[in-house]
């Protein structure tokens, strides 16, 4: 009974598509059985809203009079350094960029209350931000200094470009050392007093299409409150990790590079996040629709929290020193109960990725599709799959050494 995306889009245009979220579908499959549900259901929507570090935005601010060449110069936006290695007025702001000499970060652990991600959030919220640039000046771009307010609607292009989003599964972080540590997984108390996890679990986009059968280059998605696209697999994509019999990876696996028009996004779905003692990152809302083309795809989307397994990793000593030990494997259901047991010790848990917001994204995407406002796209090329041999490698340290001269 294989369906095609074209057939599904036709139903969407007619307002007849049958859509469920990845949470609702669990009950639907249980009630109707896989075969019947696969004939009935057209699309399953997924969602996630969590910190996604490798995110950024690029824009073209337009030319000043006289012109300035910011490319190759020094640029800040609200005192946060922007990357100016492109053409004259093309800039990029990275989520993790920090103001130089920010007094809030000078004393350990540091608050990191404002960085690139907050600049992006402020722009999307329609606020004025201060652009300062100094350039070396050329004949065609004689201006050497610029200090002006800018806002999103005045920019030419403004795009969200995130080279690593929607991590498929992630570590459960604990701290075995005897002092408090401050990490990208939050504040971790000593002697494994708490465990933090970061996953949307049964709502997560890539965990609902674990072998990347439907998500590929060009897949249209919910991004930051607007529509965006999957551009390719993301950095650190690692499809070859161990998986359960249902194909769900038990270690951090696939990632996505995504793009979208920043002007159509909303600050509800793009939030600057400050991690004490660690830094700044962008919390991004991503939602991916999964076309139910056959029974296998539907089976994957009916995955539930108790079938998704995360590895418990020590961030006190093991993680910083690249030691691969996994202390335990726990299910997302166990994590969400508030407590897990590791080596006989009860550990209280907390999440970093908002399940409540992920649910809202999946429901929003479902509404867009039901109303005919969102059509599915045919992927142009697949992401590297579990059997592709694609691997996430560590850095092979080859330190620079001075050349010894022959005497």
């Amino acid at each position: 009974m294989a369906k095609t995306i074209q057939e599904i889009n036709e139903k969407i245009r007619q307002g007849k598509a049958v859509v469920y979220t990845a949470e609702e579908i669990i009950g639907v499959v249980k009630e109707k059985g896989l075969k019947k549900a696969a004939t009935l259901v057209d699309v399953v929507t997924t969602g996630t809203f969590g910190p996604m570090c490798s995110s950024g935005a690029y824009f073209n601010v337009g030319h000043a009079n006289p012109r300035i060449k910011m490319g190759g110069g020094t640029v800040t936006v609200n005192d946060v350094p922007a990357y100016a290695g492109f053409a004259a007025v093309d800039l990029m702001v990275g989520a993790n960029a920090l103001p130089e000499d920010d007094p809030r970060n000078k004393v350990f652990p540091g608050k990191f209350s404002y960085g690139g991600a907050h600049v992006i959030e402020d722009l999307v919220a329609g606020k004025d931000v201060r652009l300062k640039a100094s350039a070396y000046g050329t004949d065609c771009y004689p201006r050497k200094n610029l200090d002006t307010w800018i806002r999103l609607e005045d920019l030419n292009e403004a795009a969200l470009f995130n080279m690593r989003n929607a991590y498929q599964n992630y570590n459960v972080a604990v701290n075995l050392s005897d002092r408090v540590i401050y990490t990208y997984m939050g504040v971790l108390q000593p002697k494994m007093r708490n465990a933090n996890y970061c996953t949307a679990g049964q709502l997560s986009p890539l965990l609902n299409d674990p072998l990347y059968r439907t998500i590929g280059i060009g897949t249209r998605i919910f991004l930051g409150g607007g529509q965006g696209y999957v551009v390719s697999h993301g950095t650190q994509h690692n499809p070859g990790v161990p998986r359960t019999e249902q194909g769900v990876p038990t270690r951090p696996a696939g990632t996505l590079t995504v793009w979208g028009d920043l002007k159509k996004m909303s600050p509800r779905w793009l939030r600057g996040a400050s991690f004490r003692g660690y830094g700044v990152t962008l919390t991004v809302g991503v939602g991916v629709p999964i076309p139910i083309l056959d029974e296998q795809i539907l089976r994957f989307t009916s995955v539930s929290d108790k079938e998704i397994i995360g590895p418990v990793v020590d961030y006190g000593e093991a993680y910083p020193n690249c030691k691969p030990q996994v202390l335990a494997e726990v299910t997302v259901a166990q994590l969400k109960s508030g407590e897990i047991t590791v080596d006989g010790q009860k550990v209280v848990t907390a999440g970093l990725s908002s399940y409540a917001r992920a649910r809202e994204i999946a429901l929003t995407l479902k509404n867009w599709i039901e109303e005919g406002a969102f059509l599915l796209s045919e992927p142009l090329a697949p992401l590297p799959g579990p059997d592709s041999g694609y691997v996430f490698k560590p850095l092979n340290l080859r330190p620079w050494e001075p050349v010894k001269e022959a005497v």
Binding site: R179, G186, A195, N196, T283, K336, A350, L352, S354, A356
Partner: protein
């Protein structure tokens, strides 16, 4: 006889001294430890309720300050800013009195001000500045 809630911050060099013992034994105060976090080589922090007459409380404050302990009255109020909250639930595991709790069905956060002892542990866990403490 009055009870005062105070926050005591101990510099790392004196965390091995039996200061609370001396408050009780030598100064005759009734001390109830509500919350304590002492780790080697770090500032220690305690939220205590101290009972005694005004003279005793004044003398106690002087004694503590002479030792280098920072004494702050717990007149602070923790505020949860619902419109800034992303419902990520990172704060839940930090709250010792369950003032911050999670509704497991909706995976949403709620804050019960009555249970809050302003220990400030949640503040460092919130990435979105949805928790703040205001001092009188």
């Amino acid at each position: 006889m009055s009870d005062e809630k105070v926050v005591l911050n101990f510099p790392p060099q004196i965390i091995d001294q039996p200061i609370i013992y001396r408050l009780i034994k030598e100064r005759g105060l009734v001390v109830n430890i509500l919350q304590a976090r002492i780790s080697p080589n770090e500032w220690g922090r305690m939220v205590v309720e101290i009972g005694g007459n005004e003279a005793q409380l004044d003398a106690a404050t002087k004694f503590l300050k002479e030792l280098g302990v920072r004494v702050e009255s717990l007149a602070g109020e923790v505020r949860w800013l619902e419109d800034r909250c992303n419902q990520c639930t990172a704060c839940i595991s930090a709250c010792p009195t369950h003032a911050l709790v999670i509704n497991r069905a909706g995976m949403t956060v709620t804050f019960d001000k009555e249970k809050c002892i302003a220990c400030e542990l949640c503040l460092s866990t919130c990435p979105y500045q949805a928790l703040e403490i205001l001092f009188e």
